[in-house]
Amino acid sequence: MALWFSRSRNIIAHLVKTKISPINQSLFHAKYISYKLPYELVWELRKEYSSTATGMVFRRFESARAGEVEEAVTYSTSDYDDDDDEINDAENKTIDFPGGSVAFTQQMKFISESPDKRVPCYRVLDDDGYPIAGSTYEQVDKEMAVKMYKSMVTLQIMDNIFYEAQRQGRISFYLTSMGEEAINIATAAALSFDDIILPQYREPGILLWRGFTLQEFANQCFGTKDDYGKGRQMPIHYGSKQHNFFTISSPIATQLPQAAGVAYSLKMDNKEACVVAFTGDGGTSEGDFHAGMNFAAVMEAPVLFICRNNGWAISTPISEQFRSDGVVVKGQAYGIRSIRVDGNDTLAVYSAIRAAREMVVREQKPILVEALTYRVGHHSTSDDSTKYRPLDEIEHWKTARSPLARFRKWVQRNGWWNDEGETELRGTIRKQLLNAIQVAEKSEKPSLVDLFTDVYDNLPLNLHEQEKSLRETIKRHQKDFPSDVPV
């Protein structure tokens, strides 16, 4: 390397002596060290090198010349070095820095902010549900395919009916996963029951797949005494220890570094399972996304990060969310293997998640999966998305790009499903849901004691006193106390 340095020094010295006048010599140095100056500006200056003003500018650069030849990185214009490039490239030029060896180059090349080609998206079925020629995917048998399809239908109907229930004032809030049924169900099918889920909030399909009943969903939304959450949370904030589904938490992306922590503990247990953490496109803007990804990579935590890039974070389109090529490219920034998959293609999602999960468990490293999709519904019942996006766009994704329709075509063409089955299924699910809602509405609310428990492991003295005081008040003003709250 010393040899190369001396050679370049000689080149410069040689060029300076023979080709460049004193003023141009300064110019050359200016260009050499002032890579802060735009290249064009230097050319402008070169044209005017006879003026006094530019001469003064160059004199400033003179004082900055000290030590330039000793710098580790050198570069020069292509006019001079075409021949030398070949010679220099052939030599091994690497240099050690904290972080390892890095080869270096004389060419000053900036990595473009946007690649010529975006990262391609893995897909198996085309829009009509035909397998694309040459696609590789995990085979799915009849039983699995039908189960997946039925679950997607159930999820869709559940979303529709609970949404309507909110509109009728029967529950306070609801949030649908419409358009993302494939991501929900195919992911759930591809994972093992032991994999621990840290959801965002648009993944109830995973609970559904794992056996959470429609009644249990209704109990949480209505906040009844049978709600596993003891009526403490807003609707759709499901959680179930026995289904390995962590209770949903509203602040965005907090589950990402927590997932790394859970995975770190899981790793110590040596289980054949991993942690699966979800986020949306908006969630990747949170600081916790950076922290979670970075830590998972550094700690080699077995976390499968799944980003549902559905194009919208309430009213913020992804063009206002980030300027990168989506989320998949961020994986490499953290040293995490990543893949982009068509989130509306059930088979693609299934195959990709199966493969990713296996890698996570086997190699005990994090992996990032970006599933491209579209949020067909509003963000939640507190949102009216027609206010910020065109109706025909929503309609297009609801019908022409529907993940259910696409998968159904594939399943039916295999002879595993038919129209009668469809009608029957939809009728049954609808009936079950309406029944579940009726039951939940008639159910008792959680009892008063559940107001005070679980703040701490044991009921502290002050809460004990408050409960006592409250009960005394209730006794004194019996008729003011709501009749549907059991004491």
């Binding site: 840290l198 790394a260 859970v262 922290a291």
Partner: protein, 374 residues
């Protein structure tokens, strides 16, 4: 995981400007002797064992990590550097890098990881270089750690301890000097502790680590180097102090002075000065900010009929304000004089030594306040 990072401003131990507040030479010891291996017994004492707060914390951490494999320590500089204030000295060497984890500079990140690990069943101890930096992680502390047991209906408990120096050090300016006792003390779901002596430090940290609920453990940088006498009981590895009980450091009958952390020392000195004038002050070391030991405080005020609350933090919405409200609610008839509240000046902490002195309660302030009541 062995990432070397430049230490933050405070520079690995008390090593800032020797602010030279009026009295206490122990401050000088803090600045210079943090790196020397401090023994738990003083060489010139008789039979009384002395232990610095730093050693108390170190031994408590060590013993709990030995007793329970699920306990782990994480934070900036806790491993290779032996701890920014040397509190975790020797722990990496003894327990290994899987249990003493040097983290990158992402408070939000490692707090999130700690909370996640606690969700799954480990018992992490998360160290912040100061609680000022914990603000970058406060969402995880409050929205995740404090509320999850309740929101998950008891399915997910969070046996985590957040610890680190709180309040003013010496000459470290506004962003390194705030006291967060009132902030965390207002959150249901958290337990908040503030030790003063080595006995407090050992007993309360052990209790915090063993507790199934999230605990915020507010230490004080200037106390780390201060040595306190410790009995054999304190040194025993099973020693533990119950959370939620205050300690009456000095019995008295004319005025009650409540304080916590460093201010306990100031209050005791104030009590000495008051004694010269015939005023017998009762000094209470709160030990626990949440739950607050209202019965001990009320009991004391019912005896003395006068109350001075002392804290370093800002007076508005402070610990003293809560104590005052508690007394007014429960022991109003016993008060012979209004409650005197002493807190830090309502300004971001200035750096200049003289201004800093003016911004913090001093022994004289406590003495004057007590005398105003008599």
């Amino acid at each position: 995981m062995l990432i070397k990072i430049l230490t933050r401003l405070v520079g690995g131990g008390g090593g800032g400007v020797a602010a030279a507040p009026r009295s206490v030479s122990f401050l000088n010891k803090t600045f210079r002797n943090y790196s020397s291996s401090s023994s738990s017994s003083s060489s010139n004492s008789s039979s009384v064992k002395k232990m610095t707060v730093r050693d108390a914390l170190n031994s408590a951490l060590d013993e709990e990590m030995c007793a329970d494999r699920r306990v782990l320590l994480m934070g900036e500089e806790v491993g290779e550097y032996q701890g920014a204030y040397k509190v975790s000295k020797g722990l990496l060497q003894k327990h290994g890098p899987e249990r003493v984890i040097d983290t990158p500079i992402t408070e939000a990140g490692f707090t999130g990881i700690g909370v996640g690990a606690a969700y799954y069943g480990l018992r992490p101890v998360v160290e912040y270089m100061t609680f000022n930096f914990a603000m970058q992680a406060i969402d995880h502390i409050i929205n995740s750690a404090a509320k999850t047991n309740y929101m998950s209906a008891g399915n997910i408990n969070v046996p985590i301890v957040f610890r680190g120096p709180n309040g003013a050090a010496a000459g470290v300016g506004a962003q390194h000097s705030q006291c967060y006792s009132a902030w965390y003390g207002s959150v249901p779901g958290l337990k908040v502790l503030a030790p003063y002596s080595s006995e407090d430090a050992r007993g309360l940290l052990k209790a915090a680590i063993r507790d199934p609920d999230p605990v915020v453990f507010l230490e004080n940088e200037l106390l780390y180097g201060e040595a306190f006498p410790v009995s054999d009981e304190v040194v025993d590895s099973s020693f533990c102090i119950p959370i939620g009980k205050a300690k009456i450091e000095k019995q008295g009958k004319h005025v009650t002075i409540t304080s916590f952390s460093k201010m306990v020392g100031f209050s005791l000195k104030a009590a000495e000065i008051l004694a010269e004038d015939g005023i017998d002050a009762e000094v209470i070391n709160l030990r626990s900010i949440r739950p607050l030991d209202r019965s001990t405080i009320n009991g004391s005020v019912r005896k003395t009929n006068r109350l001075v609350t002392v804290e370093e933090g800002y007076p508005q919405h402070g610990v003293g304000a809560e104590i005052c409200a508690s007394i007014v609610e429960d022991s109003f008839d016993y008060l012979d004089a209004p409650v005197e509240r002493i807190g830090g000046a309502d300004v971001p902490m200035p750096y200049a030594a003289n201004l800093e002195r003016m911004a913090l309660p001093q022994v004289d302030d406590i003495v004057r306040a007590a005398k105003r009541l008599i």
